[in-house]
């Protein structure tokens, strides 16, 4: 910041600091690492959705030349998991989904490992399987985890032993039962959201190596190196200081790489081969089925309004198809549980959100963390209710959308809320008009809108830290463990440090992705990085600045109180200036890089290092009985998306012509990176609305490749794709910033669904809304 209070780095566009590395191929991702004497792992996978493992015969596989080891679940007997310790890295005694890893092999080449897997003999006894969330709830349903009561669980989660419920989240605000009696109109609907896949273009990959002294190095494509370190330490009883996780560049995460799976599978293999690196990379087919998937969800939503359109009560029941292991999924059910009211001012809310074990692929975090799924239902039900009482989708949102001072479903008072300005911006920029228009003989155009919100779902005391080191020439290293997964954190955090220290960002190198070199970060998830890691970097920069000012007091003979830093790009330096009254009393910041020399030849201060540590302020646990809290989350990011679509009534194809979003991310750190996040999120939501679903039949994934699971291409880019912003500062955010990466995806799919409903007069209660569904609807209408 300049002496007259103007930002020098924040709220501007700084080109991505990783741009050159990424356009030249210089960026080394985890899978790009090749080492001499590398071994390759592969796994045998269960062909049944649910089966007891009776016998494993590895003898033939072991005889294959080039095979080093063939190991079974016995090597992985200790259960682990982020919130609920329900998972082994390799199936132990039973296999709980079709595709689960049962035997692990390592060999001199990937081909040998693969051949070995084919000749391992596994005898199974097939068990009855649970193949839908509603089946999971039946009283006589087979149990996916019969030993649930023995599992270690974080205290905020409530598994129900003897059932398939891994967590039941309950929220109650006001008295819905009484309120529904006062409603003029109640609309109750069921919606379904299928499993979808993150589809990072880089599949999961890891290489691990034990050296002879027992140090473990892990090169992984992971979002959260510290969480991986913790999980591996816990599962294999290795002290944390013996584990190094390296993850410099990650080829897309979207939540898929937030956990620990592939790394754990190969650790016992590497342990058996000290000194030799063991590599395991998922094929695209494995990525689809064996990495985390976005959980399927069935929702029953009941919305009650008075005749003016004021929502009096909402009751939600969410049933999550959590798959075989819910160690992470329970937290998604929780997030949906406390966010189920949506961004609306509603006095009476009841939400039951069930995370359920099924014999399906393992559910986990996916951009939006439950919010995309529940808003597909919430935002459609809102349009239905509005229609029933004869008001427009816009009016019902103007009446109910959160305003500052309103209370959320959790009972928190919204200090700021961008809902209404975001809505109005989208309506204006889209020139919103929801009347269907015929174009030619076979096309209909129409618009639709939806809003959404999201908060980080993280432990209320999650921590972040940063260290900033100054080099002798005044250039800086900023160390964090926020993971650059494409979202641009390295660039945004560079800007934050540059702002505090008034240094040209080109004089900063940001270091992340190595637990031995960089300090603690809980996880890179939850759209928390700009806020949490950003605060840590800001604090570290302030610490460094304060230390320099302390030294400079001696040099200048004036107090630190009035000192400031002045960026001088012409001379490629930053000045420490005594005060605005003594502008000529100044020293290049590099003077203090190694401490300050004194007149008698001695020195003081030592090398300049700033330290910043951050824990969420006043983010308190909610009341277990009803999920009410004065400050239950770090912040809420709110926004709105509007679309114009065109339906071809001969083929059922939907083309999105315009897609426009406006969000309130607090203070924007990097203008273009903000827009880039919102644009990418919109297209990802478009994919889920129109194309994407994992088709599961008897637990088998039928379309587990890009051949039959279609994500948007450049051709699907709408003619107009734009983002806008309303900036209402977050009180505790760095420079007022809050998160945007995930919230930006939330309203897109329901906006498209609402536009389709407006165009056809038929509402689809499930996504994706495919050409066959549309043609069936059109055909039924014409009958």
């Amino acid at each position: 910041m300049t002496v007259d209070g103007k930002y020098t780095a924040i709220g501007k566009y700084l080109p991505r600091v990783d741009g050159v590395a990424k356009v030249t191929g210089a960026a080394k991702y985890a899978g790009d690492i090749n080492m001499p004497r590398m071994l390759y792992a592969d796994v045998v996978r269960s062909p049944y959705p649910h089966a007891k493992i009776l016998k494993i015969d590895t003898s033939e596989a072991e005889k294959l030349p080039g095979v080093k080891n063939v190991i079974t679940g016995d090597y992985y007997a200790k259960r682990g998991g982020l919130y609920l310790a329900d998972k082994n890295f390799l199936a132990h005694k039973t296999a709980k989904y079709r595709g689960e890893a049962v035997v692990a092999v390592c060999a001199e080449t990937p081909e040998i490992a693969h051949e070995a897997c084919k000749i391992v003999k596994v005898d199974y006894e097939e068990l009855p399987a649970v193949l839908s969330p509603m089946d999971a709830l039946k009283p006589d349903a087979p149990l996916v985890h019969p030993e649930l009561e023995t599992y270690r669980v974080a205290p905020i989660f409530h598994p129900v032993p003897g059932t398939n419920i891994s967590h039941k989240h309950f929220l109650k605000k006001g008295d819905t039962e009484a309120a529904f009696k006062k409603c003029d109109k109640i609309v109750e609907h069921e919606y379904y959201v299928p499993h979808v896949q993150h589809c990072p273009i880089e599949t999961h990959t890891a290489t691990v190596k034990f050296d002879q002294s027992g140090n473990l190095t892990v090169w992984a494509s992971c979002q959260s190196p510290y969480a991986v370190r913790n999980a591996l330490s816990d599962s294999f009883d290795i002290p944390l200081h013996k584990i190094q996780i390296i993850s410099e560049f990650v080829g897309g995460g979207f939540g898929a790489k937030a956990g620990t799976t592939i790394e754990g599978i190969i650790i016992p293999l590497a342990k058996l081969n000290p000194g030799r690196p063991v590599k395991f990379t998922y094929s695209r087919e494995e990525e689809f089925r064996d990495a985390y998937v976005r959980q399927g969800m069935l929702a029953r939503i009941k919305t009650g309004v008075d005749k003016t359109g004021k929502i009096l009560a909402v009751e939600n029941n969410f049933y999550w198809d959590g798959g075989a292991y819910n160690e992470y999924g329970v937290n998604i059910a929780k997030a949906a549980g406390f966010a189920g009211a949506g961004p609306y001012n509603i006095e009476n809310v009841t939400t039951n959100s069930y995370c359920l074990y099924t014999n399906h692929p393992v559910g986990g975090p996916y951009r939006g963390f439950g919010m995309c799924e529940i808003h597909f239902c919430i935002e459609q039900n809102l349009d239905v209710v509005a229609g029933e009482i004869g008001i427009s989708p816009v009016e019902i949102r103007r009446i109910n959308g959160l305003r500052p001072g309103d209370k959320t479903g959790m009972g928190e008072v919204m200090q700021v809320s961008g809902y209404q300005p975001c809505l109005e911006t989208v309506l204006k920029e889209l020139n919103y008009d929801a009347t269907p228009k015929k174009v030619g003989d076979h096309k209909i155009r129409c618009m639709g809108i939806a809003a959404g919100w999201k908060s980080p779902s993280q432990p209320t005391d999650a921590g972040s830290s940063s260290i900033i080191r100054m080099n002798e020439d005044g250039t800086l290293y900023v160390h964090t463990s926020a993971e650059e997964i494409g979202q641009g954190s390295n660039t945004a955090l560079t800007q934050i440090a540059a702002e505090v220290l008034n240094v040209n960002p080109s004089r900063i190198t940001l270091k992340s992705g190595d637990t031995n070199m960089n300090p603690y970060e809980w996880q890179t998830v939850a759209s928390r990085t700009t806020y949490c890691a950003g605060n840590a970097v800001k604090l570290a920069a302030e610490d460094l600045r304060n230390k320099i000012f302390n030294l400079a007091q001696m040099k200048f003979g004036y107090p630190a109180r009035d000192m400031y830093l002045e960026r001088d790009d012409e001379n490629n330096c930053t000045w420490v200036v005594a005060s605005k009254y003594h502008k000529n009393l100044r020293a290049d910041i590099k003077t203090f890089a190694l401490g300050m020399p004194l007149e008698d030849g001695s020195g003081i201060g030592g090398p300049a290092i700033g330290v910043g540590t951050f824990t969420l302020p006043n983010n308190m646990a909610y009341n277990a009985a009803d999920s009410q809290s004065e400050k239950g989350v770090a912040f809420w990011t709110i926004g709105c998306t509007g679309v114009e679509i065109e339906i071809d009534t001969q083929t059922g194809h939907v083309k999105v012509l315009q897609m426009i979003s406006c969000f309130d991310p607090g203070k924007v750190i990097n203008t273009e990176l903000y827009a880039a996040q919102v644009e990418g999120a919109m297209i990802q939501s478009l994919g889920t609305a129109l194309y994407e679903a994992m088709i599961l039949k008897d637990g088998k994934l039928m379309n587990g490749s890009f051949l039959d699971y279609k994500i948007p291409t450049a051709y699907e880019l709408p003619e107009r794709l734009e983002s806008y912003v309303c900036e209402f500062a977050e009180e505790t955010g760095p420079f007022g910033a809050r998160g945007i990466g995930e919230p930006a995806m939330v309203p897109g799919a329901p906006a498209i669904a609402n536009a389709i409903a407006n165009a056809l007069g038929t509402r689809f209660d499930r996504m994706p809304i495919t050409p066959d569904m549309i043609m069936e609807a059109i055909n039924n209408k014409n009958k």
Binding site: L707, E716, P771, D772, E776
Partner: protein, 277 residues
């Protein structure tokens, strides 16, 4: 990918000799966009992969009005799509080749490879069916020619013997023939057709070929017969749609339902007939 020996003959003779000695142990590699995926997925497990790309005789696209078009076995989708004569005299075939896979795939994949793969939804096949293309084959006993409708016998099955090589496809030139190619898929680009069709008009006759509606691409001969000599109006179109429905037997699969395929097939017929008249 499992191990195999790689051989790259330089002449057709050499290739046929290799095929004749290895028979079912050999797989022919042309563009490779299908074969390499099948190798990777271990759907095929050959001992020998015979790369025919070094055989100059198989390259190129030839055209004259008397002989028609000859598409060599190594002509890529990219080459066909951009060939001056194809664009001028067989624009619907250029269109078809331009709708196969992605740009990268079209730069490698061959139309003859597409034919030999014999998928019911082969993107470049319906133009061949409309033109009654002739497949030119060479084997140890010499050359033979097979009409395209007889060449493909079922899903991924052809009459090609293990020791034979397709040299190319002859597509006659028909004066005054106009054609329209239509592909419908879940996603506009880089997707498998759930309906693909070429509909041609010459004089007062129609030639109608559909893919993805039966185990092989087919000609809708009854619909063609019905439309012959008729002037096209809404009533005729409606009737033709009914006949079309009786001639096709699409299935429901991951990519579309049977009902959807029928509806879209009818729309394609309607749009094409209107555009051709």
């Amino acid at each position: 990918m499992r191990e195999f020996e790689y051989v790259a003959p330089k002449t057709v003779k050499e290739a046929i000799n290799i095929l004749a000695s290895y028979k079912e142990k050999a797989t022919v590699l042309a563009g490779g966009t299908d074969v390499v995926v099948r190798l990777r997925d271990e759907i095929i497990d050959p001992e020998f992969v015979v790369d025919i790309k070094h055989i100059d005789e198989l390259k190129g696209i030839k055209f004259d009005k008397k002989e028609g078009l000859f598409v060599g076995a190594l002509a890529t989708m990219h080459e066909i799509q951009n060939d001056k004569n194809v664009k001028e005299f067989y624009p619907y075939y250029a269109d078809a080749c331009g709708h196969v896979g992605s740009k990268q795939v079209r730069n490698k994949a061959t139309s003859v490879g597409n034919l030999c793969t014999a998928s019911p939804l082969g993107d470049s096949l319906t133009p061949m069916f409309c033109l009654d293309a002739v497949v030119v084959i060479e084997g140890p006993k010499g050359k033979r020619e097979v009409p395209v409708r007889e060449f493909i016998t079922f899903v991924r099955k052809t009459v090609l013997e293990r020791d034979e090589l397709v040299l190319g496809v002859k597509m006659p030139y028909v004066e005054g023939l106009k054609g329209i190619y239509t592909k419908n898929a879940r996603r506009h680009e880089v997707d498998l057709s759930n309906i693909v069709a070429t509909i041609c008009k010459v004089g007062d006759e129609y030639r109608i070929a559909y893919g993805s509606v039966a185990p092989t691409p087919i000609r809708l001969v009854k619909t063609e017969e019905f439309l012959k000599g008729k002037s096209i109006d809404d009533k005729v179109i409606e009737e033709a749609k009914g006949i079309l429905e009786s001639e096709i037997a699409p299935i429901s699969d991951l990519r579309a339902t049977k009902e959807y395929r029928v509806l879209v097939s009818k729309s394609i017929l309607e749009n094409s007939l209107k555009a051709l008249n």
